[in-house]
């Protein structure tokens, strides 16, 4: 296990100050970071681990008429079980329920889920036997090796790992805001996710947080009347696995037709992939088999396999179709 100093933060400012000193990361539920340290995945591991569970007031679910606010330390189990989220923000409840296992949902927080590290099979290989370009190495091993689980929409900074987070896909589809200690107005979810083109440990992030930036709250705008949403996940196993492909749909239906649709794909790209062509395809139309199928086909415009992952194109098509049908 990498060596680290453990500190309990009392406030966000206190935590941020420790992060600002460098080579430090936050620990929330701990389900990812402890394995990351035990596996000695990275050549640039944190030397200080900052526990933010000792900061009070970050665990809440507050829905009101205009916005749903969720504290960053709210567990995925609570989000999945919350009746308001299940009714009005179903895609988020379903995405939270799709994560891992009951134990992981009892421990894991939504803040942690959107800050976890990638799951590429080479990146995650313990003892860092494959020091890939995500870790400041020079090569993407997946491109010429096992890429069955990787991106069908190309690489980012030549990295073909996909976004491992289920809730990320839902949050982008919901046009959520990610509030941090340095951005009180909040990041647009679609801007929040991505791989920093950094030359240090930040390169391993699945989001654009600064080194001393901490997620404090998620805000989701309340849905317009007639809005339904759904999350469909494909993985080889129906529990524990990360998404190979997923689809989040938020559709507002008016007069029998889609007045607006947010369609986002997971498991297919470095970050949540907004399927703009699919959104255009279904706009103004009824959700029926033919239209949903056409939207599914539109969703994979521009995609291509890199050797072993061509099947994701077929799956993505089907999941978009089915998630749309769930919202009919």
């Amino acid at each position: 296990m990498n060596k680290f100093t453990h500190v309990n933060a009392t406030t966000i400012a206190d935590a941020a100050a420790t992060l600002a000193k460098g080579k430090a990361q936050v620990i929330a539920g701990g389900t990812d970071l402890t394995s990351y340290l035990k596996g000695m995945i990275s050549p640039n591991p944190p030397e200080t681990v900052v526990n933010i569970k000792t900061i009070s007031g970050l665990d809440y679910i507050q829905p009101d008429s205009s916005v749903l606010k969720i504290g960053a330390l709210t567990t995925l189990a609570k989000i999945a079980a919350n009746s308001t989220i299940q009714s009005n923000y179903a895609v988020l409840a379903q995405a939270a329920l799709a994560v891992g296992s009951p134990e992981l949902r009892n421990m894991g927080t939504i803040g942690g889920n959107i800050c976890q590290k990638p799951r590429c099979i080479y990146y995650r290989n313990e003892f860092n036997d494959f020091n890939c370009l995500r870790k400041m190495g020079t090569q993407c091993f997946a491109l010429t090796g096992v890429n069955r689980y990787h991106s069908i929409f190309g690489g980012v900074n030549a990295c073909f790992a996909v976004c491992p987070s289920d809730t990320a896909i839902a949050l982008v589809a919901l046009n959520a805001k990610i509030i941090t200690n340095k951005n009180s107005a909040g990041w647009d979810a679609a801007e929040f996710f991505g791989m920093p083109n950094a030359t240090d440990a930040r390169r391993e992030q699945i989001n654009n947080l600064a080194a001393d930036e901490i997620v404090t709250e998620i805000q989701v705008p309340a849905p317009a009347a007639g809005t339904k949403s759904a999350y469909r996940k494909f993985s080889f196993r129906k529990a524990i696995d990360f998404p190979l492909v997923s689809a989040a749909v938020v559709a507002t239906i008016s007069g029998g037709n889609v007045s607006s649709a947010s369609i986002v794909l997971g498991g297919v790209y470095n970050s949540p992939r907004v399927a703009t062509q699919a959104q255009t395809s279904i706009a103004g139309k009824a959700i029926n088999d033919a239209n949903a199928t056409a939207a599914g086909e539109a969703a994979i415009t521009g995609s291509s396999g890199i050797g072993q992952n061509d099947y994701k194109r077929q799956i993505a098509k089907v999941l978009v179709t089915r998630a749309l049908t769930d919202c009919a």
Partner: protein, 241 residues
Amino acid sequence: MSEEKEVKKPHLSRREFLKDAGLIVGGATIGSIALASACNNDTTTVAGNTVTTTVTQTVGTVTVPAGTTTITQPGSTSVVTVTPDDPSLGDKSRINLTVNGRAYNLTVPNHLSLAWILREELGLFGTKIGCDMGQCGACTILVDDVAIYSCVMLACEADGKKVTTVEGLSDGITLSPIQQKFYDKEAVQCGYCTPGFLMAAEGLLKANSNPTEDDVRLALSGHLCMCQNFRKTISAVIGGV
């Protein structure tokens, strides 16, 4: 060349020591003559409720940390105090927690998981380590009545928690209800995943006393079993005929 190093260890009777060393089998003490040579310099002093044991062991040039352990016997405050080997805390934390109804004040290295501490510090080996990375469920315990993977929880972050392990389900002689259900269905093969399943099932039944088959399958979905004995496990948790 050997030198004597004073090794102060948590208090155990000789029989418990030998039993923990796996050397007592079926009632007979195996190898006790040989091992006695390692134990023959035990000194034990009792002062009031405090028992201090010093074990001297012949070792090579390996340095064995020295320290003092103090245990307050049950009947007083039931607090087990284990003071650290190293006077300054450094990379350790003090935690107060209850485990199976008993309060502990421990000093734990910050990098060790709760699973590790339960096993190696408290000798509660019922909780198993499988993958050690939160993917198999062998290490599941209840923390504040909720099932979690103890291998990915740092022990230093368990301050103030109420922990229940498989040893805490019953007195070990009379089976608890969930243990009895597994007994009735003979729902064990190699047994390695069993404590994890028991704790997950215990957590489920605390929240839902009459689960359906689908409720059970979901609640246990974080548990792998290489023997692949889900049939027995699921039917045990559902119970009935």
